[in-house]
């Protein structure tokens, strides 16, 4: 029976593949367009001369060409790849747009010089930065991640503890809330003069500034989360014999977690924003330091290339935070 229906299906497919809808079923049309756009970017990069040489043009053309070949293969393979194919096909319009963007970017910068050096850089200019500066950039990434991790982690730990205390205790809230509201809107970088006095090393001062920028939103949102917990949850807890510690740790903390995550997301963005400034404080390496160093020497291509790295790291950390949130707040599904 199933064999018969399979043959029938195959026959139907063979017949329908002659018609336009049949072609659409057999080939991922957007994939072809994307391949064409990437191929155009590759040809423009390799075929036209640079107004001013940037380096790595051949490498970029080769990568874009390889992308075009892969997309062309996908154009025929995607309809047969099931779930994975659907996932790829979903990004079809984006893949076309990226190809077109690369082609236009090449034309306006390197090829016609409408957007001139050194203010603008073609994509292969950025690629050349990665090729030429890889060792230095890797060290900078390591330094920045060390500073960011120390600052962010200590910031959210202290911010969270302060937020719980502020949300739970009337005494803490009376003294702490006005202070928090006053210093909250002050940019973390405004504390640089004091930090020079208080901290033994400039690195410790930088960690403090990153910690402050991530800790304040976490503290504010944690305290508002704890304060807005449904009072009847506490009634239930007290009635069942819970002491204060149990009410805090097993009721207030989990109940306020959705708020805390909003604070964590805000803290993550703020901490990245101040990372550049924090690395002004006598740092020898770091992405922020590298950006400032290159800006001073008009190495804008290096600046853009570094910004791309920072954006990717930040997006990756945001993604990680989302995964953590979905795991911890699965119980919220019924509410969102």
């Amino acid at each position: 029976m199933s064999q018969v229906s399979e043959t029938l299906d195959a026959g139907a497919r063979a017949r329908s593949s002659l018609s336009w809808p049949g072609v659409q079923q057999a080939i991922w049309i957007n994939g072809l367009w994307a391949a064409a756009a990437w191929a155009a970017a590759a040809l423009i990069t390799a075929g036209l001369p640079d107004v001013v040489p940037w380096g790595s043009a051949g490498l970029f053309a080769a990568l874009a060409g390889a992308g075009a070949v892969i997309l062309a293969i996908f154009a025929f393979a995607v309809p047969r790849l099931g779930r994975f194919g659907e996932g790829v096909a979903h990004y079809g319009p984006w893949l076309i747009a990226v190809g077109v963007w690369f082609a236009l970017w090449e034309l306006t910068t390197a090829k016609f010089g409408w957007l001139p050096k050194p203010f603008f850089s073609p994509p292969h200019g950025l690629l050349h930065v990665y090729v030429a500066e890889a060792p230095r950039l890797l060290i900078c990434i390591g330094y920045s991640l060390r500073l960011w991790t120390l600052g962010f982690v200590s910031g959210i730990v202290v911010g969270y503890a302060a937020g719980v205390a502020l949300g739970w205790s009337k005494q803490f809230s009376y003294w702490g809330m006005p202070v928090l509201k006053l210093i909250g809107p002050v940019p973390a970088t405004a504390w640089i003069p004091c930090t020079f006095f208080f901290f033994p090393t400039t690195f410790a001062a930088s960690v403090f500034i990153v910690a402050l920028s991530s800790g304040i939103p976490v503290a504010i949102l944690t305290s508002s989360g704890i304060a807005s917990v449904n009072r009847s949850y506490y009634d239930v807890g007290k009635n069942l014999g819970a002491n204060s510690w149990y009410l805090i740790s097993k009721i207030a903390v989990p109940a306020s977690l959705p708020h805390v995550f909003v604070g964590l997301f805000m803290g993550l963005y703020y901490s990245f924003a101040v990372l550049v400034v924090a690395e002004m404080l006598g740092a020898k390496y770091g992405l922020g330091w590298y950006i400032q160093f290159q800006t001073a020497y008009s190495g804008y291509a290096n600046v853009y290339a570094t910004l791309v790295i920072m954006a990717l790291i930040c997006a990756g950390l945001v993604k990680l935070l989302f995964v953590a949130r979905d795991r911890l707040l699965g119980w919220q599904k019924g509410f969102i």
Partner: protein, 265 residues
């Protein structure tokens, strides 16, 4: 629901623990932005151990306030409330309040919700079986790992009941626990509640708006007046359990109570 023998052990540990309640001259007022709003006025009430009392009255007459005072979550402005002759000053797991909303913790599974009391008092490790038995008692064994948002209204209220019963309370304070359920679920839960009380005889004080529910479940019905609430009338419901809601005596009693409440039918 037919609770198994094993399941019943969870609330049958010490039958003698059933609590007698005395409410002596209790008045209570809420402080609303400096304005005193009296809600209860000189309430005198005594509830024998193992009795099932229903409190009826118009909205806002202080029925729920009285339950909160008996639970110990609030302290009365005047007068005293005793449990077995001892003045109530703070909440205690021997007197458990079940709210109109199930107020289950949405972040915890049904099992962990039911385990809350044992966990809070540090006896969970030795008494895990009580949680399973309490879930069995309310027919929720297969939902032990579900989260509250996955339960229907009736199931959520059963889970809340299990969370109370697992502590073997001597007094159950029921604040319109069936008030928000659809009428069919309400009828079946009334029957379950009756069976449960018959099997265990914990002292129960039920606040309800449903006169039929009151006469079917309770051995005594107390009617409170408009705010500030005073005891206006008291009706003994002298019919054997299990009761049927069509029992002519109960129907007649229901009519008398409705008349007291100003609703002639």
């Amino acid at each position: 629901m037919a609770p198994g023998e094993a399941a019943l052990r969870v609330v049958r540990q010490e039958a003698a623990r059933n609590v007698a309640v005395g409410v002596h001259g209790v008045s209570h007022a809420y402080d609303l932005a400096g304005l005193q709003l009296p809600v209860l006025d000189s309430i005198e009430l005594s509830v024998a151990a193992g009795e099932f009392i229903a409190l009826l009255g118009p909205s806002g007459c202080g029925k729920s306030t009285l339950l909160r005072l008996i639970s110990g979550l609030d302290v009365p402005s005047a007068g005293a409330i005793t449990a077995d002759g001892v003045r109530i000053e703070r909440p205690d797991p021997s007197r458990i309040l079940v709210f109109q909303d199930p107020t289950l913790f949405p972040w915890a599974t049904v099992w962990n919700n039911v385990a809350t009391g044992l966990d809070a008092r540090g006896t969970l490790a030795k008494e895990r079986w009580r949680v399973d038995a309490a879930l069995d008692l309310v027919g929720l064994c297969s939902f032990a790992n579900a989260y509250p948002h996955q339960l229907s209204g009736g199931m959520a209220q059963r889970a809340a009941l299990a969370r109370a019963l697992v502590n073997d309370p001597g007094l159950l304070l029921l604040d319109e626990p069936l008030g928000k359920l659809d009428s069919l679920t309400r009828l079946s839960l009334q029957t379950e509640l009756m069976a449960l009380w018959q099997a265990t005889r914990f002292t129960a004080i039920l606040v309800t708006h449903d006169v039929e529910e009151a006469v079917v479940l309770a051995s005594r019905v107390i009617v409170l007046s408009d705010r500030p609430g005073r005891i206006e009338a008291e009706f003994a419901v002298d019919r054997p359990y299990p009761r049927h809601r069509d029992d002519p005596d109960l129907v007649a009693l229901r009519r008398r109570i409705l008349a007291t409440l100003g609703l002639d039918t």
